[in-house]
């Protein structure tokens, strides 16, 4: 995967998982991870929809795959099983014959999200406790055959640090770590793009950038600052499909595929190596981004 990135090729990542699964009938309140075990066919189908749309990199359905988050759905006794199985499902989707003819990839990123717990003085999660939680998840993802570890939507520096630490302890796979700069240009915990990027670079991640967040246009401002603070790292831009607004009873994200694709072009011009999308996006967004990047 790194060889491909080093060749100058821009990789297209995937888009939203949770909202797509809900469209397939995942009940509100049930995490997508539950369907890794219950409805693996739907998980593979979604992966393939993104691969068909042009994703070079798909992420496992394990954003909430750490123990405290799975505990909320009473799945905490199945952490290794869910993460390993999710990696296998993504791998299965990638190996489906259709994509074998591509010149590169596709690749599988083992998705790692925040634990939902906070560290002192704000919460009770210790640093070592966080490392242990992440190590449990990441070890299982690696065993399931992912190509890289993809830590995302981070907002607290210590938690991101623990996740990267854990990844480096349990695997030699390349580690990416991106942040959600959703609060006045910083993470909700107050971390600026420069601070986040510098820290991630120091910890030995190979890539960093912005995912989720607020308006996707803001990423245009973040990327140069991330690049400057983390020279030599691969830059990632994986924003939401705009800002959600309720129209009647329906949530509508205001960025259509064309707007995200036009932005993806600008991200690449600013040096982004991996572009994709986050909340509110669909395979249609990824298809538009892939077409734009491919030009």
């Amino acid at each position: 995967m790194l060889d491909v990135l080093n060749s100058g090729r821009v990789l297209v990542a995937d888009g939203a998982t949770g909202t797509m699964l809900q469209a397939e009938g995942l009940p509100v309140g049930l995490p997508g991870e539950a369907w890794v075990l219950e409805r693996p066919d739907v998980i593979v189908k979604l992966h393939r929809a993104y691969l068909d749309a042009g994703s070079d990199l798909i992420l496992t359905t394990t954003f909430g795959g750490t123990r405290p988050r799975l505990a909320r759905a009473r799945l905490d006794d199945r952490v290794p099983e869910i993460n390993r199985r999710a990696a296998e499902l993504a791998r299965e989707a990638v190996q489906a014959g259709t994509y074998a003819g591509r010149d590169v990839g596709p690749f599988v990123g083992g998705d790692v999200g925040p634990t939902g717990e906070m560290m002192p003085p704000l919460g009770k999660l210790t640093y070592q406790g966080a490392v242990d939680l992440f190590a449990e998840q990441i070890g299982a993802l690696a065993a399931g055959g992912v190509d890289c570890i993809w830590i995302e939507t981070m907002s607290a520096l210590e938690e991101a640090r623990a996740a990267i630490d854990a990844a480096r302890q349990v695997t030699d796979l390349p580690v990416f770590c991106t942040f959600s700069f959703d609060t006045h240009g910083r993470t909700s915990m107050g971390l600026s793009p420069s601070q986040a990027a510098a820290a991630v670079a120091e910890l030995g991640a190979v890539g960093t950038g912005a995912n989720c967040g607020h308006a996707p246009e803001e990423v245009l401002d973040f990327l140069p600052r991330v690049g400057e603070a983390a020279p030599g790292l691969y830059l990632v831009a994986k924003p939401n499909a705009g800002i959600p607004r309720m129209v009647g009873r329906q949530a509508v994200y205001d960025a259509d595929p064309e707007r995200l694709a036009a932005l993806a072009r600008q991200y690449v011009d600013l040096g982004a190596h991996i572009v994709g999308a986050c909340c509110g996006s669909s395979p249609a967004h990824i298809a538009a981004i892939a077409a734009m990047v491919g030009e």
Binding site: T19, V28, L122, T183, M189, G190, R245, M246, A251
Partner: protein
Amino acid sequence: MTQERLYQEMAQAVIGGLPDRARTLAAEALAAGIEPLDAIEEGFKPGMDTVGEAFACGEAFIPDLMMSGEALKAAIAALEPELMARRQQRQVSGKVVIGTVQGDIHEIGKTLVATMLAANGFEVHDLGVDVSPATFLDAVRQFEPDVVGLSALLTTTLLNQEAVITTLKEAGLRDRVRVIVGGVPASPEWAAEIGADAYAENATDAVRVVKELITSK
């Protein structure tokens, strides 16, 4: 230390999010003969206002607001015995029941709103996260609040704010309370759509809106 200087130090202890310092200053104030109520309202509370304003405009963030809330709480706890001894209490601005709606486990936004309301003298009953409409209904019956606050982060769980309002209506209690909603995808239009009384954008805004709701009640 002069009284004015002490008040400034108190505000600084809250702004800096320093619970130990706040406790120490509370004890100093009592030793200096300052009324505990004055220490809260003239000393510590203005510090919280400053942080709240900074939070609303992106100069302070979640950890700042949380730690300031802790410092204020520590100060009030330290002054509490003396308040009780004098049969005094902070003027209660109103009663609020608050929670994150069913299916949604996001805690921070709701907790910040509860912290800011408590700092402003509201009696706050925080029901936690993933709160069912029935639990909200029970709390409304038990606490008879002026305002019910419904939080949700996700576009999907936002719909459950409406379920609480429906439940209140069915129980004949909708007219007894004002309902305020918040959450990333929420908006004034959304509040109107589901029959809530108001929307607040953040914890600082929530204090303003809840005050307005109670005044207009």
